[in-house]
Symmetry: C3
Subunit: 164 residues, 3 copies
């Protein structure tokens, strides 16, 4: 590994961070720029498989576009290897939370991603991504009667309704 | 981006990590070293706004100094851009947990930070920081009757009361 | 800090990420490669102390090897200092979740790690590691009656049982 390799690795990390930010902020057009045209995804241990950038964006948009769908997807522990001048592979650890505001549904999970990246016209893109879950659990939010949403990106413009 | 840029970016990341560590460990004097004198904060989508390093530290200390206030603020997904030799801008993803031991109160949230940094006498400082919440939720800890605090920094010197 | 220092620091971060991945994936042989032979650990503010690589692996395996033990250990906020050509020290922020599938037990915690690293035959290893908890809490999963495990690494090969 050289300092110049670190520059490539930092660019790949930023690609991944942009992907995650676009998911949770519902920025579908910017999200599309993260993928190669022929990208393939295999989420949840292959439970969900989609091929092709446009189909992937359509699938993610269908799953997550509602403003009732609030999520925090956070990735950690990047282990990125450059495999050629224009290819790289990496693993990441995921933790995710989903709240369906109108459906009394909550989800928490943990997983490990395995990714492939391609440098395409000077920019790193995701060529393949998928994760396998360590665990995933769901619950009815009504089981915790006092649970109250006090802020949301779309509902309160990201401001808390709590007093300090 | 050059290897030398990465050195600056790593210094900015460490500044942010020091800031978060000082918050959760209640190190208010070390926290003050993270800010420029004229820094401005806008937490929770602008719900809380404070200007000036001394006022910021006073505000944070008032909100969080009690040893009954236990928190985990974790930042992820740094997207840092150097905008000149001495200025930089960045976004981060936040997840935070707050436990008020004596008040039957719990909070979990997720947000995105937007920061500005200035290099001041060789050291990067936070000139402006703020976050907008994806979500925030609160609950009464008594809703989960078995919930038991088994360690805390101040209450047990960070040791668990559990047996292995 | 120089670009060449960043290469060493990235190698130390990867060591830590490998350690965490091996814990949650139960890869005990690969985990052993993360430690020096005379490594020492002091988890949970010194509540658990073990010395020597083989004893550490045995201790971790005893605590975590069961496939009923599902965990997510995530480390954040690396503040790594190179202290010589072959030694380094660092702090990290931890968040961890444990689910005991067969025991109606859940745990969530937050902590700060203090580590020492040694470069040994070209590879960085953990010479000493320990953490002090900001908080740790446990609960009976049955307190949330709807809580349902919908995926696990060993139980479902990492695939969700949910429909999209």
């Amino acid at each position: 590994m050289t300092p110049e390799d670190l520059v490539e690795i930092e660019a790949i990390k930023r690609l991944k961070y942009r992907y995650m930010r676009c998911i949770d902020q519902k920025l579908w057009d910017e999200l599309a720029t993260c993928f190669t045209e022929d990208a393939a995804v295999a989420y949840s241990g292959g439970h969900y498989r989609v091929e092709g950038r446009d189909a992937i964006i359509e699938w993610l948009r269908n799953a997550m576009a509602s403003e009732n769908f609030l999520s925090s997807h956070r990735v950690h522990h990047p282990e990125i290897d450059l495999t050629s001048e224009t290819t790289a592979a990496g693993t990441w650890a995921l933790e995710d939370t989903v709240i369906l505001v109108d459906s009394d549904f909550g989800l928490r999970g943990a997983a490990f991603y395995t990714d492939e990246y391609v440098k395409d016209g000077g920019d790193w893109k995701i060529a393949a991504t998928g994760y396998k879950r360590t665990f995933e659990e769901t619950f009815r939010r009504g089981d915790v009667p006092s649970l109250r949403l006090t802020a949301s990106w779309w509902g309160t413009d990201g401001r808390s309704e709590l007093e300090a």
